[in-house]
Amino acid sequence: MRIIPNEMESLWTLFTAPVVWALHFLICYVSVAVYCAKSSQISFGFDVVRLGVVLVTIMALALIAMSGLLAWRQWGFGTHDPPHDDPTRHDRELFQGFATLLLSGLSFVAVIYVAMPLLFIAECSP
């Protein structure tokens, strides 16, 4: 079994990047909120949470980049121009690849925006 499939036959590949974005959003906000709520009972400092979320962010960006790369391949590395609106299997694949590529780009930027506050948060409010 290959980790990276040869062909994209499922619509689910379209949602991969936004799902990673959503999970990353949840992990960022939940982990910081839980840490700040329980900080008196937790022995490690906020920098550990910061580092953890940075690692999660790098993983999320890598997953989204991979999704984008696969989408680019599915789109034929840009050799076909949109609109892909012929009622053929080939055009459906190209359309899906192009849409996935755009969604991956959006998700990539969004994950960076979501993670940016971590660089600036000084501490939990008392």
Partner: protein
């Protein structure tokens, strides 16, 4: 539509001379609105360290937004008036990629980074209490402010209401609470706002940089008289502030007046405190130094005997929904004597 039809037909159309539009005087209302940007309750005329940061942030965002807006409108005009050959699909695609995706993403990232970078200084933490030299506890009530000063020079807290005084150039920690519904504490000239939430204690730290009188509204809808809930914040020279706070910690000077007797005999002391008397109620505002305050009834009336008399008689008219019952059944002599006594509490 004429611009659009020009593009469709691809030929120039002679424009008829326009009549002089009344819109050419549009700058007059704009100037009138701009006048509202100054004054004692304005974020755009900062007199505190945090407010200055907010004003800078505002202008950076306005300028950043204007640049983007001008670029969009400029491109729109260019597209509407362009009469040459159409762009190739490739160069149009490149324009969309750079102008529609990469440029906005980078500009937004820069503005977001700047706003986030400012955040710690907009909400400075003065450390675990009671490290700040002066702590002012403000509790939102429908529809007034309970104020309590705690200074390192005084063992007990000093009660006041509906007015806040701060020393110039000294960081003050506000401890913000609410006894009923959500209110929001905001002195636009000095800093950002902070909600007062029942069951929670929020903190806000402010540093005033200019002597003066500023106004703060309740910034969260809190009931019928929400718009009638405000206060004055007075920034004083530190030496004058210390003298004032010392005076506040003492009862007001006794004046020869039968208003005090009438105040007590009519039961005002069940809800209000006047230090040094039998009046020790805590339901309503502390009135110990009422006469020396800038305003009356939480920033809505001038502090005069007549206004005090009116408020005692008709609080339900002046401030609908307030918990103080109306005392319009009292004889005029009593109302006048009590008002005179309260105005004398300096």
């Amino acid at each position: 539509m004429s611009g659009f039809s020009q593009v469709v037909r691809g030929q120039a159309v002679e424009r008829p001379p326009y009549p002089r539009s009344p819109l050419r005087y549009g700058f007059i209302p704009i100037l009138m609105f701009a006048h509202g940007c100054a004054g004692i309750q304005s974020t755009l005329e900062p007199t505190g360290a945090e407010a200055r940061q907010i004003a800078t942030l505002f202008w950076v965002m306005v300028i950043g937004g204007s640049v983007v807006w001008l670029a969009v409108i400029g491109t729109l005009l260019y597209a509407a008036r362009w009469k040459g050959e159409p762009h190739s699909a490739q160069s149009a695609g490149r324009l969309i990629l750079w102008g529609g995706a990469i440029f906005p993403a980078v500009v937004l990232m820069a503005l977001l980074a700047y706003a986030l970078w400012l955040m710690p200084s907009l909400r400075p933490q003065s450390g675990e209490p009671p490290s700040a030299p002066l702590r002012i506890e403000v509790t939102g009530e429908q529809f007034w402010w309970r104020v309590s000063y705690r200074s390192k020079n005084h063992e007990a807290s000093i009660a006041s209401a509906n007015e806040i005084r701060l020393p110039l150039g000294q960081r003050v920690e506000f401890v913000l609470k609410s006894s009923d519904v959500i209110h929001s504490f905001w002195i636009p000239s000095l800093g950002g706002k902070m909600d007062m939430i029942p069951g929670r204690t929020n903190r806000l730290s402010l540093l005033a940089t200019k002597v003066g009188i500023f106004r703060g509204p309740c910034a969260e809808y809190c009931g019928t008289s929400h718009t009638l809930m405000a206060f004055y914040a007075m920034v004083m020279d530190p030496a004058a502030f210390d003298i004032w706070l010392e005076a506040q910690s003492q009862p007001s000077e006794e004046l020869a007046s039968d208003g005090k007797l009438r105040f007590i005999s009519n039961g005002c002391g069940s809800c209000h405190t006047v230090h040094g008397t039998e009046a020790t109620g805590t339901l309503g505002p502390d009135l110990t130094h009422l006469g020396s305050r800038e305003s009356l009834a939480a920033g809505i009336l001038p502090n005069t005997e007549e206004a005090i008399r009116r408020f005692i008689a008709d609080p339900d008219v002046i401030k609908p929904g307030s918990k103080m019952p109306a005392f319009r059944m009292l004889p005029e002599d009593d109302l006048q004597a009590i008002a005179s006594y309260l105005k004398g509490l300096k």
